[in-house]
């Protein structure tokens, strides 16, 4: 077999490649730095393969169009940055409630408000979990390389279809804008999950039936099935309900369809963790600095390893507890004021020291800063 073609690809374009591989055929968005190249890539590629690209009037319209296209049967996505994500959160809640699959790319920049358009940040990590109001369970994945951005975008679509829920792909400015030499997956190389459609006669279809899997088949509008969707809390037929016996089960469904399968969603990468006494915990661009720092520290004889959270929500409680069981100290590095650090403190036993190295000045954490912190807590 001939060698696969090597390309120098940008993180944002890797999103486009991954999404199209996963079958995405509808993109609606409003350009915003540092995510604009995702829209540019979709505008170029989608018309070539029979897909649709729409630049909407704003981010509210963009996510509304994405949800509409998904209900009409297409795998759909949008890309934005923090200010745009803030505008989208109301309708993302609508997607949670109506159980509509879609993928939202957030290439993070500094905030709050319009903040720092060209500067890196990871300060929307909690927003991806709690952005919209109400009780729900969110899925968010966070690649830290261009190659991973391709595969995690594919996975974001798979998870979205598998659980009928919106999935956020958290990138940061560094990963979105940097370019790396990669080879793209061949057709068939990566798993692609297709939407499950109803097979029963239309008159027997119960759109939100309480089944064992809690995830219902989803017809496209126009296929003959009656599929009522509303943001109001609804019964199994999709009609508005105020009955306590129907309200709680609906909310349980939204949570349990995901929480029963955390193992399927969780993905972590570990480096140098055998016999490690201290572990770095990080994600996105910071994970790259942490792997580098751990490598340098190992060469200097320190028993140090690094864990990258490739998926952040649902938080990988069990896996993190197991991986950190034998270590005395962890250092959480992130580009915010400690959004994941809070989760790590919640999960790890009290006798594990949780140290933090937090940067929110628009620059990436460097291996040297992580090594200095390591030296301080050793």
């Amino acid at each position: 077999m001939p060698d696969k073609k090597r390309v120098l690809m940008q993180g944002n374009h890797a999103c486009v490649a991954g999404a199209i591989y996963a079958g995405m055929r509808f993109y609606a968005g409003y350009p915003i730095t540092p995510s604009t190249e995702v829209a540019e890539g979709c505008a170029r590629r989608l018309p070539e393969i029979g897909g649709r690209f729409i630049q909407m009037e704003d981010e509210i319209g963009s996510i509304a169009a994405v949800i509409g296209a998904s209900v009409a049967g297409l795998k759909s996505m949008t890309a934005t940055s923090g200010p745009g994500y803030s505008l989208m959160v109301e309708n993302i809640g609508y997607a949670y409630m109506t159980e509509t699959p879609c993928v939202i790319i957030n290439v993070q920049r500094g905030g709050p408000s319009t903040g720092l358009p060209t500067k890196v940040s990871q300060s929307d990590t909690m927003q991806a979990r709690w952005g919209t109001h109400g009780d729900y369970t969110a899925i968010a994945v966070a690649p830290s390389s261009v190659a991973e951005t391709v595969t995690e975008t594919i996975r974001a679509f798979n998870l979205s279809e598998r659980f009928r829920t919106p999935v956020t792909l958290l990138l940061d400015e560094v990963i979105g804008h940097m370019r790396e030499i990669i080879t793209l997956p061949e057709p068939g190389e990566c798993e692609v999950v297709e939407r499950v459609k109803p097979t029963c006669p239309p008159e027997q279809f119960i759109p939100f039936e309480m089944t064992e899997s809690l995830v219902n088949p989803m017809p496209a509008y126009g296929e003959g099935y009656r599929n009522v969707i509303t943001g109001l809390t609804h019964d199994t037929m999709g009609f508005t309900t105020n009955k306590p016996v129907e309200i709680a089960p609906k909310l349980d469904k939204l949570r349990n369809k995901i929480m029963r399968h955390v193992d399927e969603i969780t993905r972590l990468r570990t480096e140098f963790i055998d016999d490690a006494e201290i572990l770095f915990i990080s994600y996105g661009s910071v994970a790259r600095a942490a792997f580098q720092a751990a490598k340098i520290a190992r060469e200097a004889g320190a028993k140090v390893g690094a864990i990258q959270l490739q998926s952040i929500w649902p938080f990988p409680d069990k896996e993190l507890m197991e991986l950190c069981a034998r270590c005395r100290k962890v250092i959480v590095g992130e580009l915010n004021m400690g959004q994941v650090a809070i989760e790590v403190e919640r999960v790890l036993p009290r006798d594990t020291e949780v140290h933090t190295l937090l940067r929110y000045d628009g620059e990436i954490l460097t291996p040297m800063q992580l090594l200095e912190k390591l030296d301080e807590v050793l």
């Binding site: 090597r6 120098l8 730095t33 060209t118 940097m178 790396e180 060469e299 200097a300 291996p367 200095e372």
Partner: protein, 193 residues
């Protein structure tokens, strides 16, 4: 405290370069071309990253290219093996990041104040305007000079990468720019011995 820091060594399996100047001088595009020239035909890993301000023109702009036979963890430069500075401001900002034996290449018309006498100076911007026919190809002249002075990428790979990225109708100007870069750098190398 300090015991670990005394023992650590900066990795030797990386070649790190930074192309820096002012927004609009094409430093990011130059780094992308360099990344493609080294990475696509070869076997090495390449990461190209950048930082820039919100302005389309002006403001500081820099782009890093890291090359390694191994997996590149940290995507940005740590200690520069090569610094290209197209303005005084970029030289002042990034010279401290250059290794002691690192290669410094500057536009010696736009830079007037040198922190060291160990540098290669060429008038990239003037050469582009007066000889190549357009100020916009100063970045391509600089790329060819880097190739000639360091050997980090071979001529053919660089030429292909430049032409692959050149907008329609600019191939001739870009070819000329590459020739000028190789020629001037070779002359400079000879002069310095």
């Amino acid at each position: 405290m300090g015991a670990l820091l005394e023992k650590i060594k900066i990795p030797h399996d990386r070649f790190e370069m930074r192309l820096s100047g002012s927004g609009g001088q094409g430093m990011i595009l130059a780094a992308v071309i360099m990344g493609e020239a080294i990475g696509i035909g070869g076997k090495k890993n390449v990461v190209q990253s950048q930082s820039y301000g919100p302005e389309a023109r002006g403001g500081a702009s820099k782009s890093d290219v890291v090359v390694s036979p191994n997996e590149i963890f940290y995507p940005k430069a740590m200690r520069l093996d090569l610094l290209l500075a197209m303005t005084q401001e970029s030289l002042d900002s990034y010279y401290p990041d250059l290794k002691e034996d690192g290669v410094l290449i500057v536009d010696d018309v736009l830079v007037t104040d040198f922190p060291t006498d160990k540098y290669y100076g060429l008038p990239f911007t003037r050469l582009a305007r007066e000889e190549a026919g357009h100020v916009m190809v100063a970045n391509v002249i600089a790329l060819a000079a880097i190739a000639e002075l360091t050997g980090i990428v071979d001529r053919e790979a660089l030429t292909n990468a430049v032409l692959n990225r050149a907008p329609r109708g600019t191939a001739d100007k870009n070819k000329k720019a590459i020739e000028i870069g190789f020629r001037e750098a070779a002359r400079l190398k000879e002069k310095k011995g």
